[in-house]
Symmetry: C2
Subunit: 656 residues, 2 copies
């Protein structure tokens, strides 16, 4: 007997419910509901090759509703990916299994991005789809021509970040982006009518998408819709009306079907209702064979692509781009540092960042910049970069609009896609808007560079709503995040080099609005920022106190050192542009830099939180312990007591 | 000659541009563009009384596009509020003036909420409008019956949080909420067509709003639209097509008109174009008089309201609600604590939170709860609370939907409106989604309670996307935020009391998913958590080490103490449910609690960042230094080494 669609979809349903029952936790409502749509997509439309999860021109499949992870694990297992074995499915959500509670791309090949925090998947997918169009413009259809598919739920679409993603995608006319909305009308608390009345199709259309509503359990309608979706000139949203927990006798279609094990009775009922009488975790051979066969439907396309790739004039450049090579970045930065020193100029570090970007962007064609509507303030646009638009996909600068969260998520998507090294700017205080996406980049270990200007009360008149006080600390608290806060033009260039070289995670570069004094007066070939902190200026004779500062406060420490010198106190100044890198150095280097038994004063125009590790017991802190205020920045530094006088006074008290 | 609309609108324009020129910074594009709409609104429609900015039944006016702050300062000054003098306008953006760069409600009476971070205003206004409907249901039209007006720009509408706000408002049918969209088609980077193609009216309609497009410089159209807006049964959005920088000869209608001083020549050109030949900061008497007169158009309404209020049977209850009284909360919590101790039960702190809420919500009718679609997991709904819906505004529980950011902002709005003490729940990891609104609550000093459950790797199988690791630290870094992490049922009740009593700022209550052992076995009348940290259990004889722990790790410290005792080491256990409160205690109390020269070990299933202040030089930390993983929580505590064994081992090393 021929294997029917129903049997194949039921294999997903069975594996998903057996895994959740076994784990006694997880979310089977979505896999039960979306099994029909997913089966049609993965056997006919999704361009992928289970033999090579990293085929660069594969379609990207993003399960934005990440709690339904058993859907993707079932699909990977059934279509023959090595990454998900039967044992992994049996060990769903257990330590060491390749089947974590939510899909994690760094654990499971075939998972394109880590999802779970709702809305992140769809917003990340927008970045993937932008990367595809950009690389298509650069390398042509023969190497890059694929789609990005997203399964999103009500929760994803209620999250604000989805609006930023949807409007950006609509504006960019990302017609190769196709969202399959699991329109099951249920959330955890109950029916969506408890909390939402949005006409999702109308909403997407208002953002420039085309939409279609289908019955997500009618294979004919699914086929028709997926075919239709291929030929649109706008992004596509297909609202698939499904029954959450499809087949569950008493809870299908209710909030109870969302998650948690259903229990033996309900599971037995599903087996009966969907006509699946096999033992738990068992997929009969004929169905398994059909899945393997149909799951490999694009293997020959992959073969053709390999041939085109081998013969392509772009091969080397394409491969280098996909690897994310940086060329001779050391030479570029070294030469730039010499120029900075020679210029003998003071400037804001955001402007120094713009200056080094002019050279980096020329040297590294994979760098794609952007800003959340603050291009002129963030100094993120290099002259060689044209805006990326639907009419000029080769452009390397994205006007992201006032969408910090969508921007950060899109950058994650670009980095995951590969072929682009994304960076973009906003004000540091707005890191709060994008934090969920920034964190996901840190968790995934993606090279994404967040340029965050206006990094303290030094921004002045815009006042406390715009003045970061706790943001540097809160980003330093995040695992796998490097926070750079350079002091001048030389350090800014060094920090850019370090951020670009951090290939296993994101970086934040915090930059001033205001002009700061140059503190690195002499050229060094060596990247002194690479150790995170270093002795910028030793005291004369026996040093009595160490002044540790970052960014705009380094010049204050230097001025305090001078004042102390004139009153006979010898102080050392340590510049610490990256605390995380300094923490990675040997204890010997740390002690050599900070001195052995000297009192230490940290100067930073932010909160003390996190600094005591370096201050130790005998020391002090000059910085902020409240929100800021609106005034010219010089007045604020006085008002909040972040001055050379205050530092010198504290040093006197500690030394005497 | 009669004063015309044009003259009055021009007074706003003139004060705004003179102030920005004087300050050499600020944003005059919006005041120039929206002066006509604002003049009509404030002289005819807005119910307010310059003599009493705190009249409870005034309309709320929210300038969501906060950078255009000179619009509201001009309006407050011209209509006769004491809060903004001519000198304040001359000293726009200077230290000590009541005219900060962005509107700050805690600086300037008449400003309803602090805005500037885009999208926050509109989202806060939704909470105000919900509070109005709720209090109307409770106290009737005679005491509460007002509108909430919002001026929002393109930037506000591009931010994701605006979508959460708009869809929530549409679902709730908030027909007394009226958004005036400054539809000037320009952002900082240039025309909105650089980054957006959204049909805003269609978008709002998809969310259940009614909309209208008008020429924002045509007074007749403005009047018609504002009249029409009064009688709708849905929230209203009026897209006002305006010219940003109206009147500026060379830059009106361009991105350059958004902000910054325009310069003398451009300003002279505006004066000529709009027909305003008065000296800077001078408003002729006839125009000033007209403003004062028309600005007081609702003074008699206010008088009528006062009479109704005096005669109302609800007067006392209404006043108490507006003050935010807590009744005899100490007695309620004390009795509950006794019940907890008597029950002799172990449970998850989220469940203990639900238990104390059952009593608090009965006792304090102003408490309005909610959850971002996790009611059952957050245990935030008390039995006495019915859902708040358009058909039952008296309900005290909001199904916020999957909208963490919009929820936090709406709570800010409820607290600002007064009459409601808002709290709501989500998972702690999703504090990242709402952080910008949480911060604004801290800056404004509003009593908003964020219940954040599933507060560590202890949530288990959902994995690292859902496991907060750095979140407790990042919230502790925020000024004016109290982070509570109670250890058991007794501490949970104590922390709720402290959060409710913190009337000058928000609190976060971090709670476990997993069951934890009760550590407070004996009843105390005193709220031991009030000092932030206290000796939970002394060692026998001479103590050799202090174990400091929070939340779910307190039981680990207690178990370690027991293990150490059996190997002859005397350890003290300090429970520290609120580090911020502990930091406020006297040095003497701190030393008494932590011991003088004893090594200290902190145990917390989060990052070490921020703890070194209390660990000191001789001590250690048992916690996380990376993201978590997906597995049952017991396996994770083992895997990441957060166990009594690990604590005891570290203590041995420190003591010996």
């Amino acid at each position: 007997m021929a294997v029917e669609h129903k049997d194949m979809a039921n294999a997903i349903r069975a594996l998903s419910m057996d895994a959740v029952e076994q784990a006694k936790s997880g979310h089977v409502g979505l896999p039960l509901g979306m099994a029909d749509v997913a089966t049609v997509l993965w056997t006919r439309y999704l361009k992928h090759d289970p033999a090579d999860p990293y085929w660069p021109d594969r379609d990207r499949f993003v399960l934005s509703a990440g709690h339904g992870s058993m859907l993707i694990y079932s699909l990977l297992h059934l279509t023959g990916y090595d990454s998900v074995s039967r044992d992994d499915i049996r060990n769903f959500r257990q330590l060491g299994a390749q089947t974590p509670g939510h899909p994690e791309n760094f654990v499971t090949p075939g998972v394109e991005t880590t999802t779970g925090p709702l809305g992140q998947g769809i917003a990340t997918a927008v970045g993937m789809a932008m990367a595809e169009r950009h690389l298509n413009a650069r390398f042509g259809d023969e190497l890059v021509d694929h789609k990005t598919w997203v399964v999103a739920g009500d929760g994803c679409l209620m999250e604000g970040v989805s609006q930023e993603a949807i409007t950006l995608a609509g504006h960019m006319k990302l017609n190769k982006l196709i969202v399959l909305f699991d329109d099951n009308a249920v959330t955890i608390d109950g029916g969506t009518d408890l909390s939402d009345s949005t006409d999702q199709c109308a909403r997407f259309e208002a953002a420039g998408w085309v939409t279609k509503r289908i019955d997500g359990h009618n294979t004919e309608e699914i086929h028709e819709a997926l075919s239709w979706a291929q030929d649109q000139d706008k992004p596509v949203m297909i609202a698939c009306r499904t029954i959450i927990g499809y087949g569950a006798p008493t809870i299908a279609g209710t909030g109870k079907a969302h998650g948690g094990p259903y229990g033996a009775e309900e599971i037995a009922g599903i087996r009966k209702n969907i006509g699946w009488d096999h033992e738990p975790f068992v997929v009969p051979d004929d169905i398994a064979d059909a899945w393997k066969r149909e799951g490999s439907h694009s293997a020959s396309q992959h073969g053709d692509w390999k041939k085109r790739h081998e013969g392509s004039a772009h091969k080397d450049a394409f491969d280098a781009a996909m690897r994310g090579d940086l060329g001779d970045i050391e030479a570029v930065v070294r030469a730039h540092k010499q120029d900075v020193v020679d210029s003998d100029k003071d400037d804001a570090t955001r402007k120094w960042s713009g200056a080094v970007l002019e050279k980096l962007a020329v040297s590294i064609p994979e760098m794609v910049g952007g800003s959340a509507d603050l291009s002129g303030s963030n100094n993120t646009k290099a002259k060689c970069q044209e805006p990326m638009t639907p009419d000029n996909w080769a452009g390397r600068y994205v006007h992201y609009g006032v969408r910090e969260h969508g921007m950060a998520a899109a950058m994650n998507g670009m980095a995951l896609h590969k072929g682009i090294i994304p960076y973009s700017g906003t004000f540091l205080v707005f890191a709060d808007y994008s934090r969920a996406a920034i964190r996901l980049g840190a968790l995934m270990g993606e090279r994404v560079i967040h340029v965050m200007t206006h990094d303290s009360i030094g921004l002045g008149e815009d006042g406390p709503t715009h003045q970061p006080v706790e943001h540097v600390a809160s980003l330093r608290a995040m695992p796998n995040m490097h926070v750079f806060r350079p002091a001048d033009g030389v350090e800014t260039a060094e920090c850019w080099e370090l951020a670009l070289k951090k290939t296993d995670g994101p970086s934040t570069i915090a930059l001033t609005r205001q002009t700061v004094a140059s503190v690195r007066k002499a050229h060094t070939d060596e990247n002194l920022s690479a150790k995170g902190g270093y002795v910028l200026s030793s005291g004369e004779g026996n040093e009595q106190v160490v002044l540790i500062a970052t960014g705009s406060e380094v010049e204050i420490a230097v001025a305090a050192q001078e004042m102390l010198r004139s009153s006979g106190i010898s102080a050392r100044v340590v510049s610490m542009p990256c605390v995380e890198l300094f923490a990675e150095q040997t204890p010997a280097y740390q002690e050599e830099t900070l001195g052995k038994d000297l009192p230490r004063i940290v100067v930073e125009a932010g909160v003390r939180f996190g600094w005591d590790r370096w201050i130790g017991l005998r020391g002090g802190f000059v910085g902020m312990d409240s929100f800021g205020a609106s005034a010219p920045y010089q007045d604020l530094y006085e008002r909040f007591g972040i001055t050379p006088d205050a530092v010198a006074e504290m040093a006197h008290a500690l030394v005497n």
